[in-house]
Symmetry: C2
Subunit: 312 residues, 2 copies
């Protein structure tokens, strides 16, 4: 059993993902290296104004230090010292036909306990069932390689997490989301258990948990790139662009109202620009917008209803 | 001493403010009447695509029912039954030379206790000291008509409230903000006291508290319209428009991350569209944007530093 954090591997993942996205878009990422006052730092890469991506952010961070007492009390492991490392990304394409995507993988150590989390979810603006099927089938095959029961846990966990109660709407067509892999659910604090009812009941050995996190990170390009390639040359109109800008408002609402990483990061002195790189370049809000019945825009709300997308 | 809520007066205020804004803009408001499941309802008025206002929302609501137990425990007055009525507005002009403005006045009754709150604050995109001076001088004169010490409390209360800690930035040049007028600070729960250190130490009689709320509501047009009139014909460029869209991002960040009314409303089944009418029509986020040194855009951050704006 190793207790080394997979920091170098995660840096390599950021490189590989960025290389894949550059190959797809043709534009380059700009890079910011930054340090965190409390300990550690990161590397934020942003591509803007590309042919495919209006704004794409891929962040690597390795931070450590002391957690606020109330937050530390909720997490497994003794004491308040923590170390966290991860890669997170949000890609906002220019074309409304290409879905927005979010992914992250992370490893956290506190005291003598280490656990892994992450996942990815897809937010389309127009309904393409074959894209949703590809995304979920790809993720299911990654999960199935580890445990035949995991996809059935991590898929609804994602649906539950990326949900906007004030709209009674899903953020997108989901994907997978997992956390605390490496810790048994019974060893999580009560409030963490309540917020994460799908957490694994058993302790997954560190090596296996780490291998799963790596497999999810490595699966990102295969899950997303074929969808982007399929949709990037579809024609789109100004009407469709305006609908995309409006739907991006829901993305902003989710990230600022509910996303735990965003809220925790901003409230505990994280690097604001690296946290808010997830926000789209251009967003529109319109009072009480309702798509025309029967239109492709109206089709979306039904499409976003959680369902079983994976094949096989 | 009356224990009637000033519901009809507030409806009239909404009418008078809307009439003033229509006279200024030339366009009309659309109106939505709505009912609240738990009790009460409201009237939301929205003007979009006007010559002056890209999006202007003026909301009246009169709601009642039972508060969630944890929230009720924090507030003065026995029991969980409450009744609240108020007018709130946010105006987003099209021109970056005309500031965004927010105002609200409200009356809340719980058990045998009734109190008043409200205020208004101005969010300019370009620095015009005379506008800030007019806005504050006008509000100070309203406060001074009641108590010579009130402006000195309600002005910093506003500065403290409309502040974005993750940016270390004020939302705008402030104004006044007050709450719990009619209740002594010592009678507020501990957490409410902590969040509202400027609350009045004394019980203001209901008639007087109500008169103050009405005076603030009546002061809105006089505080804002002269500024809008002065700036609405200033020329502006696409560069200035883009800067406005970027700064609007800060408005969205404040409302979704920190605004208590927004968070409470959305989490307790308020009418989403009436709550989020405060969001601008079009918003832009750019990673790590920094205005050119010496530019008018660079001037803004210094301009937004809290200072003594009122004259006389």
């Amino acid at each position: 059993v190793t207790n080394q954090m997979p920091t170098e591997w995660l840096k390599g993942l950021q490189d590989r993902i960025c290389a894949g996205l550059v190959a797809l878009d043709g534009s380059q990422f700009a890079e910011d290296l930054w340090e965190r006052e409390g300990g550690g730092g990161g590397c934020t890469r942003i591509l803007t104004g590309g042919d495919l991506f209006e704004k794409a952010g891929v962040n690597f961070a390795e931070v450590h230090g002391e957690l606020p007492a109330d937050f530390a009390a909720e997490l497994p492991g003794v004491g308040r010292q923590f170390r966290a490392t991860g890669v997170s990304l949000v890609l906002h394409p220019l074309s409304p036909m290409v879905p927005t995507v979010h992914a992250n993988v992370r490893c956290i150590r506190k005291g003598d306990v280490m656990w892994f989390g992450g996942g990815m979810d897809l937010t389309p603006y127009y309904a393409y069932a074959e894209d949703a099927a590809h995304f979920h089938t790809h993720l299911k095959s990654v999960c199935d390689g580890f445990d035949a029961s995991w996809y059935a846990r991590f898929k609804p966990w994602c649906d539950n997490y990326f949900y906007l109660p004030h709209r009674d709407e899903a953020r997108g067509i989901g994907g997978i989301f997992f956390d605390y892999v490496g810790v048994a659910k019974a060893d999580l604090g009560e409030s963490v258990q309540q917020r994460n009812p799908m957490a694994l009941d058993t302790v997954v050995p560190v090596d296996r948990a780490e291998a799963f996190m790596k497999a999810v990170g490595d699966a990102f390009l295969g899950a997303y790139v074929p969808i982007a390639e399929r949709r990037m040359n579809e024609p789109w109109t100004e009407r469709e662009r305006q609908f995309q800008l409006l739907r991006r408002g829901r993305y902003v609402e989710f990230n600022l109202l509910y996303d735990r990483g965003t809220q925790f990061g901003l409230r505990t002195g994280g690097r604001t620009e690296s946290i808010l790189m997830s926000l789209p370049a251009l967003v529109r809000w319109e009072y009480a917008h309702t798509p025309e019945p029967g239109s492709r825009e109206a089709e979306l709300s039904d499409f976003l209803t959680a369902r079983d997308w994976a094949e096989g």
